[in-house]
Symmetry: C2
Subunit: 342 residues, 2 copies
DNA sequence: TTTTAGCACTCGATAGGCGAGAGTGCTAAT
DNA sequence: ATTAGCACTCTCGCCTATCGAGTGCTAAAA
């Protein structure tokens, strides 16, 4: 168990390290943080803390650097403090409501906002559509050869796709088909799918093949689209001392450019609602061992949305937290990703 | 005027510099390229070429490095050679036709393909929609409060937007409105706009305000969307010796992340159809003075599309050219951005 | 017993010095 | 006109000395 003073020392070291990025010596702590104690005292505590695995020395005569274990303690205390002030946060009114481009645009703006405000990298992930509630489906005849599938989901998400028509489906059968599908409005697509397929097979025998094709396309449009990912700007990272080393930067950069890798990462984050932080090795990815991932996931109208900030392990967790709360709030208030009444 | 031998020397130096990335000495040229002449001869030629502004020495006793002027000459000759073999190119069959995600997806894939194959950065720019031909417009009542605007353009591009409805437009007036608009199918939106606005003002007086609003939304949807830009992956750049220096990389990186900056750049490229190359200072942008921009712009069905590759001045122009041709061809063959018959 | 002052020691970072190597320009010979 | 030879220049890598921050330990003070 840690004594009160040990906790204070640890907290000082983490703070100072986050601030400066350089290993922290006993003198610094004694002078700037715990002025009541001499450097020697701090030194002894630091030695103990190192033995307990909270600190390491990069080399014999440098200061100490916090380990993941230390960050963990620090972050937990930051998160705890947040719960107390909680709703104090309300700074800049990010105008996401200026939704010229709908959901897609808002998410792009949000991820970029996360990046710009935090100075790290913002990501926004929106879950697969198949869990979202269906609002309405339309089949629109574009011309004799093409059909436009139009899917409107709860919350105003719209998706579409043009598909070729091989057989000639009558406008009537199309309307009948969409009427059937729309019967499932307000329920998740996953539910509607089975029922509709049965209907097509049994009653629309005549055009069954073509209908089934249209349905398959629709299914693919909704289901396989997978989690949609938005990544904010990354150039701020280059200003950080942590990424002056090209190799380290490249590792993260390459990772962030490969959507599917990043997706796996984000998917592993959807543990529970609220704000969570993964630090260094806690993230199951080699190239992220020097990074931290703070994310806030929330579920509304059956759709899970994850806002995240990726930065160095040495990130300013307090600021990141504020930014995350802020953007989350903006997003909620703008009524874009949550449309309760409808 | 340059003698034949001077041209050969210059060509050798540029080739070698592109290959190695290090300043080229007279010995190297003499040994590996113009074996018929001694280093001293080359040296004299190089001295002359430097006086003429084709070469510079980084410092007194290093080899020489080509200037923009030299690259210009080199690139022009590469482009000239291409015209001769022209249609020889046909390598990997990039399967863009697997267009699960429509135009948008294809462009994303194309830009990424450009990046991956060239090892530089690929960009694809698609012109504003307002010049594209209108195929059909629909207004769809989503619920009592929302209207879905649906615009289908020639070539299968679909755009949509949900807008709130303040007044109550009858289904009839909406249908009438869309019928009127669809009268302009096959002509550019810019043309249709004026006529329709007149119609609304004069004949739909009753709901004029609401209609005008819907129209304005539609107008915005089509017109102000501006050039749509797709940027491929950039991580390859970090493998190049040219970008080992963080500062240089950051400059380019930041630029590429700022869409509007990049847009200005690309817009200045739409000079004429075909392949063009801008080298270093030829690009009107401070941060691009060490980069080159190769782009191929083409117009089909009234819409201009620009494929571009951004790399170091020292880029492998021949490979870049091949890649560009290749992707361009794939895009054409996949019938995505060109749909002639319809 | 805990804290503190003092001191010797360690080790990385920085700066200066040195030699090697690559490339040039010039001159003289071919 | 071309080429061989040579002195000169400049960068780069390597080595060494020095500096300074920080530690661990010991002994004295609280």
């Amino acid at each position: 168990m840690l004594t009160q003073r040990q906790i204070e020392v640890l907290h000082s070291i983490v703070s100072e390290y986050i601030r400066s990025g350089e290993s922290v010596g006993s003198r610094t702590v004694s002078k700037r943080y715990l002025t009541g104690h001499s450097a020697a005292t701090i030194r002894n505590e630091m030695s103990d803390l190192e033995e307990m695995g909270f600190l390491i020395q990069p080399h014999t005569s440098a200061g100490r650097v916090p380990t993941t274990k230390a960050y963990r303690l620090y972050v937990d205390s930051v998160l705890k403090q947040r719960e107390n002030r909680e709703k104090d946060v309300q700074g800049w009114p990010a105008d996401l409501s200026d939704q010229r481009k709908g959901t897609e645009g808002a998410m792009t703006v949000a991820s970029d906002l996360l990046s710009r405000l935090s100075k790290y990298v913002g990501v926004v992930a929106v879950e697969p559509l198949n869990k979202i509630l269906l609002h309405r489906v339309d089949f629109i005849r574009v011309d004799s050869q093409h059909l436009l599938l139009l899917v409107i989901l709860e919350g105003g998400l719209v998706h579409h796709k043009i598909v070729p028509l091989v057989y000639n489906l009558s406008q009537d059968s199309l309307e009948e088909l969409s009427r059937r599908i729309n019967f499932f409005a307000g329920r998740p697509w996953a539910e509607a799918r089975g029922a509709i397929r049965t209907y097509v097979d049994q009653e629309l025998r005549e055009y069954a093949q073509e209908c089934r094709r249209a349905l398959a396309e629709l299914d693919e449009l909704i289901s396989t689209r997978g989690t949609k990912l938005y990544t904010g700007s990354m150039s701020h990272l280059l200003d950080l001392p942590d990424f002056q080393d090209l190799g380290r930067f490249q590792a993260l950069f390459t990772l962030l450019e490969q959507e599917h890798e990043l997706l796996d990462l984000v998917n592993s984050c959807t543990a529970c609602d609220g704000v969570n932080v993964l630090i260094g090795e806690e993230i199951e990815h080699q190239d992220m061992k020097d990074c931290s991932l703070m994310f806030s996931s929330s579920t509304h109208a059956g759709q899970r949305t994850v806002l995240g900030i990726i930065g160095p392990k040495r990130m300013d967790y307090e600021r990141a937290l504020t930014v995350l709360d802020q953007v989350f709030q903006s997003l909620s208030e703008s009524g874009i990703f949550i449309e309760e009444e409808r």
